[in-house]
């Protein structure tokens, strides 16, 4: 196949062509990043919130990480959901003062079909389009993103970036250059479909409800 491609292109395997490709891979180009992906930190939070809400997600802001357990419990009660969440082995989530919500039950591991609520911690959040960046692993198993009907995602202010390029910087910093976890998921709202009669319906196969808890401090 490679030989056929070279023949079609009328090229040879030359050192010069290899150098062009090697350079592009070593130093990715981003000659044009849109203005909406380059806003100030203060504007970004507003941008993230309005984009996610526009995409039918709910957005809750809390002042400190220690407020998260109460926010989770409040959200579940207001949605008439059981006080039970499935979560990974994420150190940040594990370290929260869950004892303040004794009625809230947490179990750890990948999602099963009967888990109603998944709780994850985002690796980054992209303000440009209101996009949560999730990376798979024992800390945040990938199935939590897709199987439960309700997905709660905790976003820390310091992980917010303007555009997708900023998310790649964070991923490279964590996993190394030219390396990825099994799954990087960009999530920009609850699951949806417009395949029946062109009408938009939430909860096609993934979560019907996406709730973002944003920690300012």
């Amino acid at each position: 196949m490679i030989a056929r491609i070279r023949q079609g292109l009328g090229v040879y395997d030359s050192a010069q062509r290899r150098a062009v490709v090697a350079k592009r891979l070593a130093q990715p180009l981003c000659p044009l990043v849109p203005e909406r992906a380059k806003r100030s930190a203060e504007e970004r939070r507003h941008q993230l919130r309005t984009s996610l809400e526009g995409q039918s997600a709910t957005f809750i802001e809390v002042a400190r990480a220690s407020d998260i357990p109460a926010a989770v419990a409040r959200m579940l009660r207001s949605a008439n959901l059981p006080l039970r969440v499935r979560t990974g082995d994420d150190p940040f989530l594990r370290g929260l003062p869950w004892q303040t919500e004794p009625a809230l039950e947490r179990t750890t591991g990948s999602a099963h079909d009967d888990d109603e609520v998944g709780l994850s911690h985002a690796t980054a959040a992209v303000a440009e389009t209101g996009t949560l960046v999730m990376t798979s692993g024992a800390e945040n198993p990938v199935t939590l993103n897709y199987l439960p009907e309700t997905h709660i995602v905790v976003v820390e202010d310091k992980t917010m970036v303007g555009g997708y390029e900023g998310a790649w910087d964070k991923i490279r910093a964590r996993f190394g250059s030219r390396a990825m976890p099994r799954t990087v998921s960009f999530i920009s709202g609850p699951s949806r479909s417009a395949d029946i009669g062109g009408q938009l319906v939430m909860g096609a196969h993934g979560p019907r409800r996406l709730c973002v808890i944003f920690v300012r401090g």
Binding site: M1, I2, I5, R6, G8, L9, V11, D13, R17, V21, R24, L25, P28, L29, C30, P31, L32, P34, E35, S51, S110, D113, T129, T131, S136, G137, A138, P141, V142, T143, N145, Y146, L147, G163, Y164, W168, R178, A179, M180, P181, R182, T183, S185, F186, I187, S188, G189, S191, R192, S193, A194, D195, I196, G198, V201, G203, A204, H205, G206, P207
Partner: protein
């Protein structure tokens, strides 16, 4: 391969125009998508500049495709994937059958993949005794009806809600007969319940890929439903089926294309789920597939490299060209007679199945140019259709009468004095004959035109004659 009815395009189109269900389904959805694209484009001032950049990224990749493919294979293998190259549709089918057999698979779930339609994968897997379940809701609808997708991103765009309800009642007999299925939400919930079972029992999950990334060996899928994610995360084996032109160099390059894709396709700023997968699950992953295979298909594409049709390999399958096409929105996708409908199909289909079978498609265009105007990859679709028309003519596929007509026309048009002389005679005659009605309902040699509309009668004098008078100072 899917059954080809492209040679029958004219009859297909006539039937589509007379199909009232289809016309009702087509009356809103494609236009709605087109309107939403316009709004999304207006929300991103850099959109046109990003289109230039997207075109350049793909041109660069195609010019170095051999090296980027090698690099992708190296990085994907490093991450634990097995990369297979398939020169033909048959090779791709056999590779996938072998993987399923070795996995001892019985149930296969699928995310939406046009390449899978192109190679006719489902029929082959079913012949192997496998249960194959399409999980994209639209794709599921066409699968249970025994149809094929009529649009590359909205496969069931030709169906009305009432047709879906009837199908569900017919097929899902184990559910109560008196259940309420009035709202689309009720139909979606029923499909969710049925397909959830399949996700959980599948042994192999097959997805397509919107992009393959050379930098990291990753494949990317874009969905709104999350079906592709359940397909590739739950079974023990994940197979990615993608064609060679899906390659892009880096994550930054993909970011630019993502900014263009959903805006052009559905008018969203980004699709709900954009997922990058790289290799099988890692040692400490509690979930994800144990094995990952990437099947990279050529199927005639490498023959387009270095030809005038190379540009078509820039396509990112957004569907904007069909949403904006007056022909597609009048007849829908099935009339085109193979996997890829609309303007992109009119260029791609002759390349993949031969201009002899698909010669009608590049002729099914008004050359209005809207497809090229909206294509995020700036593919010169009308120009490429013209190339196919020329190829069809020089290949002898054009019918004799048509060829003679074209030759006669060329002979006259190339001789201005003869042309003007003839027009000066014909015009007043037609003018006199048609003056009373103002138009003709029937005309010899112009039945193709007058069957569907009247031809306005000339007013008597030619433009050239009026122009000459005006230059000579004759008052009007």
């Amino acid at each position: 391969m899917s059954a080809i009815t492209s040679p029958d395009f004219k009859n297909n189109a006539r039937a589509a125009l007379a199909d009232r269900q289809l016309q009702r389904a087509l009356s809103e959805v494609p236009r709605g998508l087109a309107a939403r694209r316009g709004a999304a484009r207006a929300g991103l001032p850099e959109f046109e500049a990003l289109r230039d950049l997207g075109r350049d990224i793909k041109n660069h990749t195609l010019a170095h495709l051999d090296l980027y493919l090698e690099e992708f294979e190296r990085k994907a293998s490093e991450a634990g994937s097995t990369v297979h190259f398939a020169a033909t549709a048959e090779e791709a089918r056999e590779i996938i059958v072998r993987i399923c057999r070795e996995a001892g698979a019985r149930v296969v779930t699928k995310g939406k993949s046009m390449i899978s339609e192109e190679v006719g994968l489902n029929a082959r897997l079913e012949a192997e005794g496998l249960q194959v379940v399409e999980t994209d809701l639209g794709e599921y609808l066409v699968q249970i009806r025994g149809e094929t997708p009529s649009h590359i991103i909205a496969p069931a765009i030709h169906l009305t809600q009432e047709q879906v309800e009837a199908d569900f009642r017919h097929l899902h007999r184990h559910l109560p007969a008196d259940r309420v299925l009035i709202e689309p939400a009720q139909l979606v919930a029923e499909a969710r319940q049925i397909l959830r079972d399949k996700f959980l029992t599948a042994d192999v999950g097959i997805t397509g890929a919107n992009f393959l990334i050379a930098e990291t060996g990753s494949s990317v899928i874009v969905t709104n439903e999350g079906n592709g994610d359940l397909t590739q995360s739950l079974p023990k084996v994940h197979i990615v089926l993608a064609s060679i032109e899906k390659l892009v160099p880096t994550l930054e390059d993909v970011s630019t294309l993502i900014r263009l894709l959903a805006r052009s396709a559905t008018g969203q700023d980004i699709s709900t789920y954009t997922t990058f997968s790289t290799g099988p699950k890692r040692a400490d992953d509690p979930d994800g597939p144990q094995a990952c295979h990437v099947v990279i298909l050529d199927n005639g594409r490498s023959e387009l490299l270095g030809t005038e049709f190379q540009d078509v390999l820039r396509c990112i399958r957004c569907g904007a060209c069909m949403n904006h096409c007056p022909v597609y929105t009048a007849i829908g996708g099935h009339a085109y007679g193979w996997v890829y409908p609309g303007p992109i199909g009119s260029v791609l289909t002759p390349a993949l199945i031969g201009v002899h079978s698909a010669g009608h498609l590049p002729n099914a265009s008004t050359f209005c140019g809207r497809c090229e105007e909206v294509c995020p990859m700036r593919i010169p679709l009308p120009g490429l259709m013209r190339h196919w028309r020329e190829a069809e003519f020089s290949g002898g596929d054009t019918p004799l009468l048509y060829r003679l007509g074209l030759k006669a026309w060329a002979a006259v048009a190339k001789r201005p004095r003869l042309y003007h002389g003839l027009v000066r005679i014909v015009m007043p005659v037609l003018g006199a004959l048609g003056r009373r009605a103002g138009s003709f309902r029937h005309l010899p040699l112009a039945r193709g035109w007058t069957r569907h509309r009247d031809l306005a009668a000339p007013q008597g004098r030619t433009f050239q004659a009026q122009w000459a008078d005006r230059k000579a100072g004759v008052p009007r």
